[in-house]
């Protein structure tokens, strides 16, 4: 007997939503099939976190309609602070579920670069989108949440860089949440063709404190042969959400994907960041920092899967836990048979700031090939009393010394973010959350 969960929408609702967006038939069908699957597929099973009782299926409203922005200056102050309004050349802003503002430099347009919301992409670049949408990186039928995502997708962005094009100025994307009824089923597809390069930075920002909705977001990042994608993200979503965040990459021959993820949500969140190193000589860097507070429960999996010869995968996870927050950090280096000369290295460190907080670091190496190198380091501990003593011996107060140590601990990701405003924001969010 299968237990069917009640879904917030009917299959008919999904159909008519697709119609209202004038989606191509392949997408509408895929969503209908996904809806069927979602009814029977099981939830994923993140290691050591029980999510059977988490609500991933019910939410108040599927899509909230907002007004587009006439200009970036119309943004609320918290959002505006993230952007260099005069100089940011390439940007997409989404308010709740409405594409609100988009700008791409003429130079990039002429070179064939695409930056558009996901629905426009489905209408105007249907064939291109179809090649990548839930095909190689994330599949619809993995589990209930991937199926739900495909069925309920209500926003997102498509970035495409043609062969050999180097996008020098970062592409910035803002996903804004306002209002308690909002749910975000955003899908981002980022494709860099052979020998191209791109820096992409996204922000998830709650502008209101209240939320009763769901977050189920998926990013698919495709770096073709010789391409390089740098992917920065800062997530700051409100306490009331239940979130599933899956960012996954596929790297071709000699391609590089670098992730710098600031995981600053205040809600319960299941994070997944997997990089498939498919091509020979491909490289993946997954760097993430997280602060858990209150009674927040989170599970973070960073994984590199080595398929190509000489593939290099590096994982760095640093977490700070306070109050009664609990987070499981899974670092997985998987080397498939045939991926000789691969190197899988990972480091997971958790800093505990309170007695009641819980943080676990699980380093896992799964190796099906002999001729490889691999290493892991994991630690869970408190602020080192000798570090405190050293800083205090220079006149710095205990509170300030702790603050410096915590900021330093989270610096590996902050320093990687390529947009000043976003870097500053992450520092400030850390400051606020750790205080």
């Amino acid at each position: 007997m299968t237990v069917e969960t009640k879904l917030a929408l009917t299959g008919e609702d999904v159909r008519s939503y697709s119609e209202s967006n004038r989606e191509p038939e392949w997408l509408a069908s895929k969503r209908s099939e996904a809806y069927q699957l979602a009814e029977t597929l099981q939830l994923p099973k993140p290691d050591k976190t029980k999510i059977q009782n988490w609500n991933f299926t019910e939410f108040p409203v599927h899509a909230v309609k907002d007004e587009p922005l006439t200009g970036l200056a119309d943004l609320p102050q918290d959002a505006r602070a993230l952007i260099d309004i005069e100089n940011q050349k390439n940007i997409y802003v989404q308010r709740n579920n409405t594409p609100a503002y988009i700008k791409l430099s003429d130079e990039l347009k002429e070179q064939g670069v695409i930056l558009t919301d996901i629905f426009t992409a489905a209408r105007e670049h249907s064939d291109l989108l179809q090649q990548y949408f839930m095909k190689d990186a994330v599949k619809v039928d993995e589990h209930k949440l991937t199926a739900l995502h495909a069925a309920f997708m209500n926003g997102g962005v498509f970035v495409y860089v043609p062969k050999g094009v180097e996008v020098k100025e970062p592409v910035q994307v803002l996903f804004l949440h306002e209002g308690e009824d909002v749910s975000l089923f955003n899908h981002a597809i980022i494709v860099a063709e052979d020998n191209s390069s791109l820096t992409y930075v996204e922000n998830y920002l709650s502008l209101s404190k209240d939320s009763k909705g769901l977050v189920n977001i998926i990013s698919e990042v495709i770096a073709k042969d010789g391409a390089k994608i740098t992917y920065g993200a800062v997530d700051v979503l409100a306490e009331g959400f239940t979130s599933y965040v899956n960012r996954r990459g596929v790297a071709g021959r000699d391609a590089t994907i670098e992730w710098a993820l600031g995981l600053m949500n205040d809600c319960d969140t299941i994070y997944e960041n997997v990089t498939h190193l498919v091509g020979d000589g491909s490289v993946g860097h997954s760097k993430s920092v997280l602060v858990g507070r209150g009674s927040q429960k989170q599970n973070v999996t960073a994984k590199t899967v080595h398929w190509g010869k000489g593939a290099e995968g590096y994982i760095l996870q640093h977490g700070v836990m306070k109050e009664e927050a609990s987070t499981i950090f899974n670092g997985i280096g998987k080397i498939e048979h045939g991926a000789s000369k691969s190197d899988a290295v990972q480091e997971s460190r958790v800093l505990m700031l309170s007695e009641k907080a819980r943080g676990d670091a699980n380093p896992i190496l799964l190796i099906d090939e002999d001729d490889v190198t691999a290493g892991h380091a994991a630690s869970v501990g408190r602020v080192d009393p000798l570090q405190l003593y050293y800083l205090m011996s220079r006149g710095i107060s205990r509170v300030e010394a702790e603050r410096l140590i915590v900021h330093g601990f989270l610096a590996p990701v902050v320093s990687q973010l390529p947009i000043e405003g976003v870097k500053k924001q992450l520092s400030e969010v850390i400051e606020r959350k750790v205080r």
Partner: protein, 259 residues
């Protein structure tokens, strides 16, 4: 003039008594050297004065111009004017040397009276030049991946930037080659003056060739057993410590071996 006064200081680490009644008075405008073989309690004295968390003072007093230092938190001791150049400074990842130094300087100033960035950079540049440190050291993470010599220079850099009333240099010469020793000494000598007193802990006389002390003390068995002028250091260099042991009837000078 300021005075740092240590009286009858007894210190334990993990239940073991290391210092057994140390008396020492240091004024500004004076440089004192504490010498002695290994294991006689010299570094313990330095750590106890600064407030290292592992050292417990069981008896005695330390005062700075009459203020009870032992009652103070570690940061308050620094603000009162004490500085310890440590033998093994901590490495702090993610915090740049420059940011750390600025935080330390501003900690000593009133809120709203923080050092201007320009003045800070000017100061830092000139002090780093004196110490022949590469400018990029300012942007490196605090002590992380520094060589032994770089760490020592960095301690002296902090000393010069923070300008304390009293500095204790805990074996600042260990592991330094002669050129580095000269550079470090130059830094300390620049600090010399009416508003600065210094306690140099070393077991080699050679540092004292470059920083001439006004007073020299010898520690054995957790106490100061002999004091004198600079000539005492020279005699130790020439003749070693045996003559003192003989004079005082000490067989084993390390802590825990009573005469």
């Amino acid at each position: 003039m300021s005075t740092l006064e240590i009286k009858g200081l007894h210190v334990e680490i993990e239940g073991k008594e290391i210092l057994k009644g140390v008396d020492l008075t240091i004024n500004t405008n004076e440089i004192h050297a504490v010498m002695g073989p290994n294991g006689t309690g010299k570094s313990t004295l330095a750590s106890a004065i600064m407030g290292h968390p592992k050292y417990e003072v069981t008896a005695g007093t330390v005062t700075l111009d009459g203020e009870d230092v032992l009652e103070m938190e570690v940061d308050e001791r620094a603000k009162a004017g004490l500085f310890l150049a440590m033998q093994y400074p901590s490495e702090i990842s993610g915090v740049t040397n420059a940011d750390f130094l600025r935080s330390a300087i501003n900690a000593q100033r009133e809120e709203g009276n923080e050092i201007s960035l320009m003045k800070f950079i000017r100061d830092l540049d000139s002090k780093m030049e004196t110490l022949e440190m590469d400018q990029e050291m300012a942007q490196r993470y605090l002590n992380e991946g520094f060589s032994g010599g770089e760490k020592k220079r960095n301690e002296i850099l902090q000393l010069m930037m923070l300008k304390p009333k009293f500095a204790i240099l805990d074996e600042i010469d260990s592991g330094l080659d002669i050129d580095a020793l000269k550079v470090v000494s130059k830094g300390v000598n620049e600090m010399r003056g009416e508003n600065f007193g210094c306690l140099i802990i070393t077991h080699y006389q050679r540092l004292l060739n470059y920083i001439t002390p006004d007073h020299v003390h010898v520690m054995m068995q957790g106490k100061v057993v002999k004091s004198g002028g600079p000539e005492l250091a020279q005699k130790l260099e020439a003749q070693g410590y045996d003559w003192i042991k003989e004079e005082l009837g000490i067989e084993d000078e390390t802590v825990g071996q009573e005469a």
